[in-house]
C-alpha cells in the first residue's frame, strides 16, 4: 500500500496584530468620547475628568459622574510629578507584547490625589523606594497613539 497523499491547505498567513491583542486603546473621537485624554497627552498633559457639579476628580476618566450622574465633566491637569506608592518588576510570566521589555518595573503612583498604575521607566526594582519622586513620561506608538508612563528622574 502506498502512503496516502493529502492536498496541502493554507493555515495562516501573517496578520497584523488583531484588535483584541492590542493593549492600546483606540483613542480618537471616532472610537471614544474621552478622546481629549489622548489629545491632552499629545500636548504633554496628563489629565482626567472632574465632575463640575460635585467636584470629584475621577479616575479613569469617564463621561458620566458615578456619584451624581452628571455628564458635565471638565478636564483637569494632574501635574507631571508623582510619588511612588508601590512597585514591582516583571521578571517572569510577561504577557505577549511585553515579553521583549522584561524585566520592567510597574508601580502605583500617587498623583493629583489619585492612585494610578503605570510602567516605571529608567528604574530597577532594587533601586526603587517608597515615596520616590517620579516624572511623567509620555510615549507615542508608531501609529501615533499616545500613552503615559513615569520615570525616575
Amino acid at each position: 500500500m502506498s502512503e496516502p497523499e493529502f492536498e496541502k491547505i493554507e493555515h495562516i498567513e501573517t496578520i497584523k496584530l488583531p484588535f483584541m491583542l492590542d493593549f492600546y486603546p483606540l483613542e480618537d473621537e471616532k472610537y471614544t468620547q474621552i478622546s481629549h485624554f489622548f489629545e491632552n497627552l499629545k500636548e504633554g498633559r496628563l489629565t482626567t475628568t472632574k465632575c463640575k457639579r460635585c467636584a470629584k476628580p475621577l479616575w479613569p476618566p469617564r463621561i458620566v459622574c458615578p456619584n451624581c450622574l452628571s455628564d458635565e465633566l471638565e478636564w483637569v491637569d494632574l501635574g507631571s510629578e508623582g510619588e511612588l506608592y508601590a512597585f514591582t518588576e516583571m521578571r517572569l510570566g510577561a504577557p505577549l507584547g511585553f515579553v521583549q521589555d522584561v524585566p520592567f518595573c510597574i508601580g502605583i503612583v500617587k498623583i493629583g490625589g489619585l492612585l494610578i498604575s503605570a510602567r516605571i521607566d529608567n528604574a530597577k526594582y532594587d533601586e526603587l523606594k517608597f515615596g520616590d519622586r517620579l516624572q511623567l513620561k509620555i510615549v507615542e506608538l508608531e501609529d501615533g497613539r499616545m500613552f503615559y508612563r513615569f520615570k525616575k528622574p
Binding site: P60, Y85, A86, G93, F104, I106
Partner: protein, 387 residues
C-alpha cells in the same frame, strides 16, 4: 426559600493535562454522575457553567450548551454560563443554589471548567491582563502577579509581614496537597524551596503563586427534602455573602485591607447564623501566599496585620484555630479558574464524609466556608456549607 443540598459531584485531576477543554468537561461529567448511583443526566433540569475566559483560552463562546451536550444533559428550566473571573465557579454555585432555593429548578448542576495551558504561555498571560481594567491597568503589564506583588510589598511595609511568613502558607498548602490525588502539585516543599524558587514579580517567587491549571468539576444541587433520595451524606448550603468595591486601582478600598471581604464575611456569617468559632474548615482563595494572610485578618481570625504571625503560630493548620485549605489550596491544587470553587466544595463534601486521607482530615467537621476573590481583590465571594 427552600434549603438546598449538594448530593454529589466529581472532578478531573488538575494540572498541565494532555486533554482538551472538551475532554475535561467529559471527564468531570462522568465522575459527577458516577458519584451517584441513581441520578441520570436526563434528570437534570438546570445547568450553570462557571467559565472565566473560554473565548480567550480555547476560542469558544456559548459554552453552557456545549457542556450540556457533552454531559448528555437537556436543561428545561435554566441554562447559563457565569463569569466572575477567579470566582466564576462560585458564581455558578450561587446561581444554581438560588435556582433550586426559589423553586425555579429541582435538579441543578453547578459546573466549572478552564483549560489554561496554551502552546504559547505568553498568550495565556495576556488573557490575565484583561482581568484588571485593560485600558488603564492591564496596559501597564499589570496582570495578577504584579498586582499581588505590590499588595504583598505594602503589607510587608505597613505591618512587618515577612517573606518567610508568606512562604509558610505555601509550605502548609503543599503539605496538604501532597495528600490530594486531584492536586496539580503533590510534592511537599520547604520555606527554603519557596524563597529559592524563581522570582516572578518581587517580592513574589514562583511558589508564592498558584499555577496555570487545566481542570473541570461539577456537582449536583437539589432541594434538601429530596437529598436523601440520592445520598446518606448530603452537604447543605447555609449561607452566602458577596461584596464588590471599585475596580481600577484608584478605586479599590485599600490594597492591604480587603474591605469587601470583611463585608462579605460578616454577611455570610449572619446569613448562616453562625460565628467565626463555628467554622471548622475554611477553603480560602490563596491565589498568592499574601492573599491567605490578608484573608485571616479580614475574616477576623486574627487582628489586622497579624496574619503573618497567625500562620507562623500554626493557627491555620489542622488542629489550630481554624483549618485553612486542608484541600491544598490553589497553591497546591492549582487554579483552573472556573472550576476552582466547585473543587473547593467537592473537597468539603468529602471532608464531611470523612473520605479524605487522614493527614488532611479535619475530624468531625460540621461547618465550612469556601471563599474566592476575583480581579484585584475587589470582589469577594463566600459560601457557607454544613454537614
Amino acid at each position: 426559600m427552600r434549603k438546598v443540598a449538594i448530593v454529589g459531584g466529581g472532578a478531573t485531576k488538575c494540572g498541565k493535562r494532555k486533554a482538551s477543554w472538551r475532554d475535561l468537561v467529559q471527564e468531570a461529567g462522568k465522575a459527577m454522575f458516577e458519584s451517584l448511583g441513581n441520578l441520570s443526566p436526563k434528570d437534570v433540569d438546570s445547568l450553570i457553567v462557571g467559565a472565566a475566559q473560554p473565548e480567550r483560552f480555547v476560542f469558544q463562546a456559548h459554552v453552557a450548551p456545549m457542556v450540556a451536550e457533552y454531559l448528555g444533559v437537556t436543561p428545561r428550566k435554566v441554562i447559563a454560563r457565569t463569569e466572575l473571573m477567579c470566582a466564576s465557579g462560585q458564581a455558578a454555585i450561587r446561581y444554581a443554589w438560588a435556582c433550586v432555593a426559589t423553586g425555579l429548578a429541582d435538579v441543578a448542576v453547578a459546573f466549572g471548567v478552564e483549560k489554561m495551558f496554551m502552546p504559547d504561555m505568553a498568550e495565556a498571560q495576556t488573557n490575565m491582563t484583561c482581568v484588571l481594567d485593560r485600558k488603564w491597568d492591564g496596559i501597564n503589564g499589570l496582570s495578577a502577579p504584579p498586582f499581588f506583588a505590590m499588595t504583598a510589598q505594602r503589607h510587608m511595609h505597613e505591618y512587618g509581614t515577612t517573606r518567610e511568613q508568606m512562604a509558610l502558607v505555601s509550605v502548609k498548602n503543599h503539605h496538604y496537597s501532597s495528600m490530594n490525588p486531584l492536586a496539580q502539585f503533590q510534592k511537599e516543599i520547604t520555606v527554603e524551596d519557596v524563597l529559592k524558587s524563581l522570582v516572578v514579580t518581587p517580592p513574589l517567587n514562583l511558589f508564592d503563586c498558584s499555577g496555570i491549571t487545566d481542570g473541570a468539576a461539577g456537582m449536583i444541587l437539589v432541594p434538601a427534602e429530596d437529598a436523601k433520595k440520592y445520598t446518606d451524606a448530603p452537604m447543605y448550603i447555609i449561607g452566602s455573602g458577596q461584596a464588590s468595591i471599585g475596580n481600577a486601582i484608584n478605586n479599590l478600598a485599600s490594597l492591604t485591607e480587603w474591605v469587601p471581604l470583611k463585608i462579605a464575611a460578616k454577611e455570610a456569617l449572619k446569613f448562616a447564623k453562625i460565628t467565626l468559632d463555628d467554622i471548622d474548615i475554611a477553603e480560602l482563595h490563596d491565589c498568592f501566599t499574601i492573599s491567605e494572610i490578608i484573608e485571616y485578618e479580614a475574616f477576623g481570625w486574627c487582628e489586622k496585620g497579624e496574619g503573618g504571625k497567625f500562620i507562623e503560630e500554626g493557627q491555620s493548620h489542622i488542629g489550630g484555630k481554624v483549618a485553612v485549605n486542608p484541600r491544598g489550596g490553589l497553591l497546591g491544587c492549582g487554579h483552573p479558574l472556573g472550576a476552582t470553587a466547585i473543587l473547593q466544595a467537592m473537597d468539603i463534601l468529602q471532608q464531611f464524609k470523612g473520605e479524605v486521607p487522614k493527614g488532611r482530615l479535619v475530624s468531625d467537621a460540621e461547618i465550612a466556608v469556601a471563599h474566592n476573590l476575583s480581579g484585584p481583590a475587589n470582589v469577594h465571594s463566600i459560601m457557607v456549607y454544613s454537614r
